[in-house]
Symmetry: C2
Subunit: 281 residues, 2 copies
């Protein structure tokens, strides 16, 4: 396994591999790897000649009052997990190598980057789109892997890659969950025991929404109301948003006809968790 | 010479060539080719295994009141000029293939895209940065060629390629001029005989600025004042801006110490011409 910090070196080494017609799979991460990441990494190892994992806590996607500084970092453990999975290349650049002084260029997916999570995290998705564009240019992957847990991110990146004609495929793999249903997230470690217990309500609420839709309920407002009640019963939960949206435009769907995304963000104490489920009637 | 309209086909064909380790040189143009373009094309043919010319009048870089509709188009003549120069591949996509319905993604080089020409052409450089990113992803060139005549564009594209780690080289070649000094431009054909005669003042003014600086003049305001007077003597000329700026930040330089860019935009009737000169003391 090769471990590289320098942007230029990573680009050179992988450029040479690409010239030998090796296929490259990229799993972009912010480290603190969990089973969700590992499912992407396993798939990248299986699909490609070379599996690359990038580990970079991207300052451009954190707001000034967010958890950039305390975001969990565990490089040693991440490296050992990657080694165990058979990863070929770890890229873990410095922020000042990724965003040197006088850095000026940003990628923006208009419309999609202003909805849902963007309302409480303005600028977040521009930071994501920009760093992912940079990683794609540095690594030059044939396939890049993202988790369905970050549904809005996955939709934005797919749209960006399509719009900008990026020569690669975006694969979005299912959310990996704890036994009790809580979606795996590096931020789950912020939860205290009580919050952790109560956070299980998120997946329960999503499954409830799915059930209601399966039984013919079409009115999004009613469904949202019912699952809001479920979540509000938990004392430490504070709803940021619950929405039922179109899978492409991310715009709210009033009357459910086709496939929709039920998506939510809820705070437990200071920890903001997101989850979602795709439902077709 | 291969001529391709489809974005996907162009990407496929050139992807195959790239996999054979052919080097690719790209000259992005809006067509209406003149000697300035041809100097870039000749260099692309010389430097690379494959020379690609893209011809696309990019709607995203024209303002609503600008000359998108009447911008000169001469595809047949352009193709014959490319053939004569030994170009290998012409890519001339449709606007609806480049910007399908629901297109959402834009690239922006902050700061540099708000100065100089951007003041009378807001949004112009976002359109340029976006289309150039798309062309780079479709064509995958090793080297892309731009003219010094569009100095601000060249600086923005260099900065964008550097910031986003695009795996290619940007080459900027000198402005090609008519015998009397007027910079070659597809828009020169808009000029009537009188405007065309008077437009020669632009290069004369730039040379005057160079001379003043060479003779030790350091105060930009004084230099700008002197060459403004020269230009204002022409009855059909209306100055948009004249500025002496830093070559990287494009910010005005008050006292000239190192290399600077003397840059101007002047309208002759409805036709807005730009020109520039790099001067070192």
């Amino acid at each position: 396994m090769i471990i590289v910090k320098s942007v230029n070196k990573a680009q050179q080494i992988l450029g040479r591999e690409k010239a030998k017609r090796k296929t490259i799979g990229l799993v972009p991460t912010m480290g603190a790897l969990h089973q969700g990441h590992l499912s992407l990494i396993r798939r990248a190892c299986k699909d490609n000649d070379l599996a690359v994992v990038s580990i970079f806590v991207n300052p451009a996607q954190f707001g000034p009052k967010e958890d950039f500084k305390k975001y969990p970092r565990s490089l040693k453990k991440d490296i050992s997990l990657c080694r165990k999975e058979g990863v070929d290349f770890i890229f873990y650049p410095d922020a000042k190598d990724m965003y040197p002084q006088n850095y000026r260029t940003f990628v923006r997916v208009e419309g999609l980057s202003d909805l849902l999570c963007a309302k409480s995290r303005p600028g977040h998705f521009n930071g994501v789109a920009t760093v992912v564009t940079k990683l794609f240019n540095i690594i030059n992957p044939d396939i890049a892997y993202f988790g369905q847990k970050d549904a809005q991110q996955a939709i934005i990146i797919k749209k960006m890659a399509e719009d900008l004609n990026m020569p690669l495929e975006i694969k979005v793999l299912p959310t990996v969950r704890e036994k009790d249903g809580l979606a795996m997230s590096s931020r789950n470690i912020y939860l205290n025991a009580n919050q952790r217990r109560e956070a299980v309500v998120l997946y329960k609420a999503l499954k409830k929404a799915k059930e209601l839709i399966a039984h013919g309920k079409k009115n999004s407002r009613e469904i949202i109301k019912m699952i809001s009640v479920m979540i509000r019963q938990k004392k430490t939960a504070k709803i940021d948003y619950i929405s039922i949206v179109d899978l492409e435009s991310l715009k709210p769907v009033k009357i459910i006809k086709n496939k929709v995304l039920v998506v939510l963000a809820v705070r437990f104490g200071k920890t903001r968790l997101i989850d979602n489920i795709i439902v077709s009637q």
